[in-house]
């Protein structure tokens, strides 16, 4: 089976640029609005991460928390998240979509049922923030069996032994957390240092697509261009909050942000 995620990275590589990955929260601030945003930004983004919001997020900073609480308050349910993804895929067949969230939501839905639903909604990948390696081994195998890419996370604190094992057991994509931080923190490590760590992962196995995330904004994205992919989340969530506050069109504003991000890495 062709992996859309792999294809997206290949396409970016052929254009001599990193893939741009966006993160938005499903249902922020309404189901329809989040779908509109997703459709619109995917004209510029290569891969879309879609968060399924949880009300006790232990690794998210203020911007994503705000988006998540807003979505939950507006009544988003997990089945709505799948519906949004499915609807999105009707018009954007080749744009990969990765769901991201916390394990309790999957656990309550039932792992197998969750994966079946992912498959029928044409979800391409899954990031589970609080299901680390090696605890995620069984689940990630299940994902693979269902044709879903389980994205392993690596952080600056990951030891070399762990790194080797994680890369060995990873699927197509690995997510490198740029620094010790929750999402959306201020970049407190130099891009040079981040890329140094990035290549430590990349050099383990060149066939894996390694992306960098956490703290990436319009300001810093260019300096990390050498990576296979770059994830921007909080900066986008922040723009949604800002648009709501100013009563402006979030779809237009967020799309502009994503377009500018893309132009910086072209």
């Amino acid at each position: 089976m062709v992996s859309l995620i792999n294809e997206a990275f290949k396409k970016a590589r052929n254009a001599n640029r990193p893939a741009l990955l966006t993160y938005t929260v499903a249902g922020d601030n309404t189901k329809k609005k989040s779908l509109d945003i997703l459709k619109s930004i995917s004209d510029h983004a290569d891969i879309c991460e879609l968060g399924f919001p949880h009300n006790t997020p232990i690794a998210d900073g203020g911007q994503i928390q705000t988006s998540a609480y807003r979505a939950i308050k507006n009544g988003i349910k997990i089945n709505d998240v799948f519906a949004i993804a499915k609807e999105f895929k009707l018009s954007k067949k080749t744009t990969p979509i990765i769901l991201m969230g916390y394990y309790n939501m999957i656990y309550q839905y039932d792992e197998n049922k969750f994966l079946k639903k992912c498959k029928s909604s044409k979800i391409d990948g899954l990031i589970v923030v609080d299901l680390p390696y090696p605890e995620n081994k069984i689940f990630s195998k299940k994902c693979k069996r269902n044709g879903i890419n389980f994205v392993q996370l690596v952080s600056p604190t990951t030891s070399n032994i762990r790194l080797k094992r994680i890369v060995r057991d990873s699927h197509n994509m690995i997510y490198y957390i740029s620094m010790l931080s929750t999402t959306g923190g201020k970049l407190k490590v130099s891009p040079k240092k981040i890329l140094e760590n990035y290549f430590k992962i990349k050099n383990q196995n060149k066939s894996k697509n390694v992306v960098i995330g956490f703290g990436i904004t319009e300001k810093s994205i260019k300096s990390l261009k050498k990576a296979d992919g770059l994830v921007v989340g909080s900066a986008i969530c922040k723009e949604i909050s800002k648009s709501i506050k100013k009563r402006q069109n979030a779809v237009t504003n967020v799309t502009n942000v994503v377009r500018r991000l893309k132009n910086k890495i072209k």
Partner: protein, 409 residues
């Protein structure tokens, strides 16, 4: 699922940190894997290190003031009739509650690991107060995360934290109580784990924190075992150990030495926060049949909705106002070694009034939940039944709530 004899309960987990195959674990972001592993290794080493044990015992005795007393509540017993009611007055410990044991051990661990900063969460403010005390004592910089609602309702403890030089970080997200404080504290640790140690205030959180906390509070039952033998010559035939359960640290500490006993001889009763009588909200995942879920890095019974969103809780007692509970208590529940029930806000207030009326004892709202159960069952029991309540906190911190609800000074 079975409890092994002769092995401390905190060590009866599998290689992934699960008790009974399903409670506990370490559901943590990748960034925390390394600091959690470091802490696990350090604790494994130090708990067997004679010098470290000696140091811990020295501070438990000379700083915390062990042993705390074990007294018979004569007036309350004769008023109620039936069983004898005794109290283990853990609130005599330095600072006024059992939280000092865990805080002291964490401060010692933090120092041993060469970290200068320590952070912690707090609900009732006791875990925060004690951590600020221990930090001051051992020369550590301390930050305490506390829900904005709790800051308002537990002012005396906040004043104490500030006096000890700790910074209180108010948490405004969610319900602005303990659950949000723990989340925020974990988020802070994710960002600062290179130079900062985190203390989880109860037997909750990723596996290692459950173990460290349980190891620390176990002091309570070690003392009680000795006191029982010296008071009754041997361990009596019918004992009921009643303890409030929020996260469950004082209950585990109160019970740990007695888990191997037959439950007909020593019954373990945990009392959760039932919330206001007229409210649907509560903080009683064990006794009101919550489903298993993952909260703050561990699997346990959790108050949550069908989707896995954590429910808001409500309790007059900030220290019990938490939607999850220790995986160890889930294990004790499912193996039927302990029995769990709940008391409402009103039950706890009434119990507080009755205990303070008859005895020279001032239990905070948390142990007042345990006293409520004792008061309920004592009249139905025989005279040779020994009910022991862990009076694990002092009501000074509840001054404002008690004044409001009871019109008391």
């Amino acid at each position: 699922m079975k409890i092994k004899k002769g092995v401390p309960l905190i060590d009866q987990h599998d290689q992934f940190g699960f008790w009974g195959g399903k409670f506990g674990g370490s559901f943590i972001p990748e960034t925390l894997k390394k600091p959690v592993e470091d802490l696990t290794d350090e604790f494994k080493k130090l708990r067997k290190d004679k010098k470290f044990i000696k140091k811990k015992d020295y501070y438990f005795k000379n700083y915390i003031g062990s042993p705390t007393s074990f007294v018979k509540l004569e007036n309350l017993s004769s008023h109620l009739g039936g069983a004898q009611i005794w109290a283990k007055v853990v609130s005599e410990a330095n600072g006024g509650a059992h939280k000092i044991y865990n805080a002291t051990v964490h401060a010692l661990l933090c120092k041993a690991m060469g970290k200068k900063y320590i952070v912690g969460d707090t609900g009732a403010g006791y875990a925060g107060k004690m951590l600020s005390m221990a930090a001051k004592k051992f020369g550590l910089k301390c930050k305490i995360f506390m829900g904005a609602k709790d800051i308002k309702r537990q002012k005396p403890n906040c004043d104490a934290m500030k006096k000890n030089g700790a910074e209180i970080v108010p948490v405004y997200s969610g319900s602005q109580t303990l659950v949000d404080a723990v989340s925020e504290c974990m988020r802070y640790w994710v960002s600062n784990c290179d130079n900062t140690h985190m203390c989880v205030g109860s037997t909750v959180g990723p596996n290692i924190f459950v173990k460290i906390c349980g190891w620390s509070t176990a002091q309570i039952s070690r003392e009680l075992k000795k006191q029982l033998k010296s008071e009754f010559k041997k361990i009596p035939k019918k004992i009921k150990l009643i303890n409030c359960v929020g996260g469950g640290s004082s209950a585990y500490g109160f019970w740990s030495e007695f888990i191997d006993f037959n439950k007909k001889q020593i019954e373990l009763i945990g009392v959760e926060a039932g919330g206001p009588k007229k409210s649907k909200l509560h903080a009683a995942p064990l006794s009101r049949n919550a489903k298993i879920g993952v909260l703050h890095g561990a699997a346990s019974y959790v108050c949550q909705d069908n989707e896995g969103q954590i429910n808001e809780t409500e309790s007059i007692s900030a220290g019990l106002d938490y939607p999850g509970v220790s995986p160890i208590h889930c294990f004790l529940k499912d193996t039927k070694r302990a029995r769990y029930t709940y008391a409402t806000d009103e039950d706890a207030l009434n119990a507080h009034v009755m205990v303070t009326k008859f005895e020279n004892l001032n239990p905070s709202l948390e142990p007042s939940h345990a006293f409520a159960e004792a008061i309920k069952i004592a009249p139905k029991l025989s005279k040779d039944t020994i009910i022991i309540v862990n009076s694990c906190g002092d009501a000074k911190k509840d001054r404002d709530i008690l004044r409001e609800r009871l019109g008391k000074n």
